[in-house]
Structures are given as structure tokens and as C-alpha cells.
Symmetry: C2
Subunit: 392 residues, 2 copies
């Protein structure tokens, strides 16, 4: 059975060019902190990699801290920002790798998103206090794919600075899901900290990076050697870093074309399912994200049934799927009834009601074809009807 | 020019069998937290890997937390141990990835080692207080290779428990340098927490593990998803983990034979250098470690000159080599004059005096031959004489 993988938001297969890049450097074994030739060889790969990331992000190589994951980069931004007791502003639909550090740290204002899963920059601005040290917003949500108005938020923060003449809070953006589809030029966006990682952009797992704008006060979280200019101790893996950079460059170069292709597939798919509700704004969402709810359907059961038919989707964030908690993201928004004239403007809908509205997340990717979508639609409809029939 | 790599304590080249293992799994891309088939495939590799680590360490698979490095595993042990304000005991020759977290955390007693670089278990026992929550000792030192009496320390901690009838502190051991050469059976050693990693045992960089004995109270440090039973968030890289396990199994199987081979090379090398002092106990040291000091020699200059001749050695820990600080390890011990009848019993020597005694660390490995050693000796002697001549 040929499997149809539709869970690209959880993980994407490595691009063959990324794999080649990793294999090119896999035998470079020197410790990048060693001064001798073998060490310098490793160091050189890391330095060159940072220059290349810098060209994509439009930042200096020394403004990048390589980490072991996007999660670690998010943790570094949240736990590391100084002063340590400062106030933080975030939203109520952050990824767990931002949410949980915030909950542990405390002194946070969680600004709620609108029913369509988008935060209003004015609401962020209103929450800024003189002791606010950080604003952290997920660029594109990992569950519902909604895209936040990062530039506008950055401007609000900047304006606050002008008005008050105080030090504005730093602005952190988690771009793990966004990097494959959206503009991640840190200068154009106006952000001070940005998280990216390999596993969502057809790169290797186990590597991420945090952009830290010069002048941002950050304390390292993993201590030991002087790697990464003291911001993250631990011997780096040059091949993994080189692979990640390659993935970032490829994603950046094919971003617009691939986004346009997936958007069409996405919208066609959504328009073909009767009696479904779309979670998150239909327009301001990642081109590959379909997060839908069915009334009176058990989403987890649906996911298992699809998996039996070789179709791999998710019910939400993969990382916490074992927790069985209802998603904090879905609780924060209102599902949108899809009309035949999709994409429709956003209308106020009914608030989600736990398991009665079963949801699944379908995320498309580079290998996704129209045929995959048709097959998925066919089986999805059959399984939804099956569940409904069995309940009667 | 064929290079002679003699810095195995900083990094070891990947074993070809490890590389094959990584390539075997490099295309497994599922997120191990996903429930569908692609996710389960990734999860299965990680589960099997932990079973295999468990067979080497003699622990349960669920007692292992995979991390992004040995450094991260050490940080997790030190920052994670509960209660957070408890007292910790350690030594004055720990790796920076233990030392710096301890310095940041505070409430620590650093027990000094003896002039030969070995800690007396009785000194550890004396430092235990009712509020001591952790004892952390490096198994084999990364700079001077001295091996600590782990079993004896574990017994002292156990005895303290019997005498006082209180809860004994947990015992953490950093085995990053030891794993290739020493017994790392956690039951025989009697340890509660143990750090191991890939890069020193001919495995991949960017992966480590912390053994956490069931019942040990530990708080996660990187928060987010529920990976690693909640002890370490972040999507795992199954191929990297599988490669690490392979490296550990190989190291474990060839440990005794390789140790015997290197010990001979090591002792022969040391016996051949005139007017040199050996740092750390000549017997209770790693079979691959040669850390020597020359009076009136600039160690860094010596290292650079050797590098020019294609011989790669180090002046100490690679990770902090950029700091230019004098090593805390060398300051804690007394260098031993080497006599022609080496290995000699340990005699009290003169305390190291900064740069006047230049030191280099030469660490042997699987590819090291007698010929490499002879070439190194020849150039080393020539360069030492050259420096001395130039100074006159």
C-alpha cells in the first residue's frame, strides 16, 4: 500500500539535496572548539553555515545561536531574556515550547486571539508595560496555520518606544512552521529574536537556530564550554548544521511557487468536504494547513482509521498528542462553517465543544499531489459517514 | 602531509559501522511523537535504541533521557535535581558543563582532589549534609584523565544513608570521557544519574543521554512537547540516536583490548620524553591520556608548532580553549616529575606555576599507531628544544 503522508507540520522528509549536503560533511569529525587543523575545518563549516543563514534571514552570522531544536531555541528566548523578572506578553495559541516555559517563568500576559485565530496588534500594544521585556508571538500556528501580523506588531512595539521614550521590549517570533512559506527577513519583519529549525523545512531533526539581534540581552541556558559565543554550550555537529542551512536555502528559493501550488490544493480540498468546519482564518493561514472539525465525530478515531488506509494525518500538535488534553489552540478560536463558495469571509461561528467536534489536521507538502488529495477525500468522507452511521 | 590526530578527548572520528547505522535510518523522517505509521517507525527506532543502551548500562529503557549533547545531559542533572535549593557536592576538577551550572546554581561544596587528581571518597562523605541532594563527580577527567573511585564514593553515600537513616543524595557521574574505556554498568557502580555522549566514543556529535534511576526526582529543563516522558522536549533524530547506540555498543565490546593496547603506547610515550612532568596519577588515568608539562615552555605555542607539522594535540579542554584562562584542573593538582623508571609511584611535586610550565594534552585513539607516537615524540622534542634555545 502506497502511503499518503499529510502530516508535514509534524515532520517533513529530508530533501535529497539536504541529505547530500550532510553526507558531504559527515566525516568531518574535529571539535569546532579545537584550534588545530581538524578543529578549524569543523569551525569553518559552522561559520560558513551561519553566513548562509544570515543571507536568508538578513542578519549577521554572529547574531545566530545554533541549538539542538526549535524547542530549545524557543526555551532560550523565553528563559534567557533579561532581566529575568521582567514582564512578558504572548498569545493564547503559542506552541508548547513557548507556552510551557512562559507558564513556568510567570509574569506573563497572554493576549487572546480573535475567533479566527489571529491576534490584534492593538491588543498586544495595550498590554505593553514599562517592565515588559519580551513579546513572543508564533509566526504561523502549528495546529491551525494562522499567520500573525508580525510586521504590524513590530511597529506597535516600535511606536510604544517612541511614545514612552522607554526601552521597548524585545520581540521574539517562533518561525518553525513559517520558515517554509513566509518572509523570514528579520529586518523587514522588525523582530529581535527568531526561532527556526530543520525538521519542518525538509532538513534534519536535532538542529535549530535562534536569531538574537545585537544588543538583545540574553542569558545562556545550557552552560559549559564557550561554543556559540557562550550562548549555548555543547559540541556542535557541523554536518547537521550544514544540512539545516541547505534546507533553509531551498525552502527560501521555492517558497513562493510552492505556496501558490499548495494553496490551490488546500482550498480545493476544503471546498470538497460537506458539513465541515474550518479552524482558523481561511485566508491568513499557511498554504499547506487544513485543520477541520466535524460535529459528532471522534477525531482521534478518524485519524486511526485514515492511518489504517495508509493516510497519515494528525489531530493536532504531534509533540503533545500523548497528553489527551483538549488543544489550547482550538479552545481559543471559533470554528468556521465552510460554505460551497469557499473561501468565504470569516463569519462568527459556534465555539468548539470538546470531543463532540472531532478535528483533524491535514498538512500538505512538496510530495503532495492532486491524486493524494482525491484519495484522502474519498476515504475521509467514507470514514466520517461510517462513524455517523455507527452512532445511530 | 599525513596528519597525526592525537586529540581523541576532544572528538573522535565516527566509526564506519556507526556511519552505516546512521545511513540506515537517515531517511526515517516521521516525528516520533506522531501516532501514525511514519511516527511509530521513528518511535520504534528510539525505543529499540534505548533498550540497547539499557543492555550496556544495565538499566531500564525508560530510565534514559536522550539529549542533544553530554553538556545538556550534565546541565539537566545539575539544574534539574530536586529540591532546587538542596545542597550539592562536587569536586574541583569537573568539566565546565558541570562546573558552570554548579556555579550558577550555588549551594555547592567543591571537594578538592588530592595532588594526583583523585578525590578521596572519605572527603566526599564528610561533606554530606542532611540537605545534600546530589553528589556529582566526573568519572574520568577530560584534561588529565584521572579516574575517580566511583564505586567507593557510591558506597560512602550508601553508608551515610544507613548511618543517618535519612534520604541519601543522588549520585551523578559524568562518564563522557570514561564510556570508551571504563565499566559503565550503573548497577555495579551504584550511581543514580549518569551522562554519556556520542562524540567521544566514535559516535555522532549532537546526541547524548542521561541515565536517571527510577525514583530520582528531576525537573525537566527544556520544556515543550512530551518527548522523553516529559524530561526533555524537542523532536528527536532517530538516525543520530541509533548511531550513538551503535558507537556505545562497539566501545563497550572493544573496551578491554583497546585499553590494554593504548596503555602500553601511553606509558612508552611518557617514558621517552626527558624533563617532563606528568599531570595526574600515572596509574589511575585513562589509557589514552597523556597530559604533560614542560618547565619554561609556552604550551599554546608548542601546540601551534605541532599543528604546523601535522600533529594535532590540545592544551586542555577544547570547549573553553578560547577563554585563555588557566585551567582549573591543572591548578587543582601537582605535576609529577617523570623518572626513567616510569610508571613510577606518585611523588609529591611542585605546584604548577601558570605559563612557566607549558602543558599539552595528547589523547590517543583507535587509529593511533606506534609510528604516530614515534613521529610525535621526535617533533615534540625538537620543538621543546627549539623554544628553549630561542629563549636563551
Amino acid at each position: 500500500m502506497k502511503r499518503v503522508y499529510l502530516d508535514y507540520a509534524a515532520a517533513a522528509p529530508m530533501d535529497p539535496r539536504v541529505k547530500r549536503e550532510i553526507l558531504k560533511y559527515i566525516d568531518v569529525f574535529g571539535n569546532a572548539s579545537s584550534i588545530h587543523a581538524s578543529g578549524r575545518e569543523a569551525k569553518e563549516i559552522i561559520n560558513k553555515s551561519k553566513e548562509r543563514i544570515g543571507r536568508v534571514l538578513h542578519c549577521r552570522p554572529e547574531e545566530l545561536v545554533m541549538t539542538g531544536s526549535g524547542t530549545e531555541a524557543n526555551n532560550l528566548a523565553i528563559f534567557g531574556i533579561l532581566p529575568q523578572d521582567g514582564h512578558i506578553i504572548s498569545t493564547n495559541i503559542e506552541h508548547h515550547s513557548v507556552l510551557r516555559p512562559l507558564q513556568k517563568r510567570g509574569n506573563v500576559t497572554f493576549v487572546p486571539v480573535k475567533p479566527n485565530g489571529i491576534v490584534d496588534p492593538k491588543d498586544i500594544a495595550k498590554a505593553i508595560r514599562p517592565d515588559t521585556v519580551l513579546v513572543s508571538v508564533i509566526y504561523a500556528n502549528n495546529e491551525i496555520g494562522t499567520i500573525q501580523p508580525i510586521k504590524e506588531i513590530a511597529k506597535k512595539i516600535e511606536n510604544w518606544k517612541l511614545e514612552i521614550h522607554g526601552k521597548p521590549p524585545a520581540f521574539h517570533v517562533d518561525s518553525c512552521q513559517a520558515a517554509g512559506y513566509l518572509n523570514i527577513n528579520v529586518q523587514e519583519l522588525g523582530v529581535d529574536l527568531m526561532t527556526i529549525n530543520g525538521s519542518k523545512i525538509y532538513g534534519p531533526k536535532g538542529v535549530g537556530a535562534l536569531f538574537v539581534r545585537r544588543g538583545t540581552k540574553l542569558a545562556p541556558q545550557i552552560l559549559g564550554g564557550d561554543q556559540e559565543r557562550g550562548f549555548r554550550a555543547g559540541t556542535q555537529n557541523p554536518a547537521l548544521i550544514a544540512g539545516f542551512v541547505k534546507a533553509l536555502e531551498i525552502a527560501n528559493s521555492m517558497r513562493e511557487k510552492e505556496s501558490a501550488r499548495l494553496e490551490k490544493l488546500r482550498d480545493w480540498f476544503i471546498s470538497q468536504i460537506p458539513e465541515v468546519k474550518l479552524n482558523g482564518d481561511p485566508i491568513l493561514r499557511l498554504p499547506n494547513n487544513i485543520n477541520i472539525s466535524f460535529d459528532n465525530i471522534d477525531g482521534e478515531m478518524l485519524m486511526f482509521r485514515l492511518d489504517l488506509h495508509g493516510i497519515e494525518v494528525s489531530t493536532g500538535a504531534a509533540c503533545t498528542v500523548s497528553s489527551n488534553e483538549p488543544s489550547h489552540v482550538l479552545k481559543a478560536i471559533v470554528a468556521l462553517p465552510v460554505t460551497p463558495s469557499h473561501p468565504s469571509p470569516y463569519n462568527k461561528g459556534k465555539v468548539q465543544e470538546g470531543v463532540s467536534a472531532g478535528n483533524i489536521r491535514i498538512t500538505l507538502g512538496r510530495s503532495t499531489t492532486k491524486k493524494d488529495i482525491e484519495k484522502t477525500l474519498e476515504i475521509l468522507k467514507r470514514e466520517v459517514n461510517r462513524q455517523r452511521f455507527n452512532r445511530k
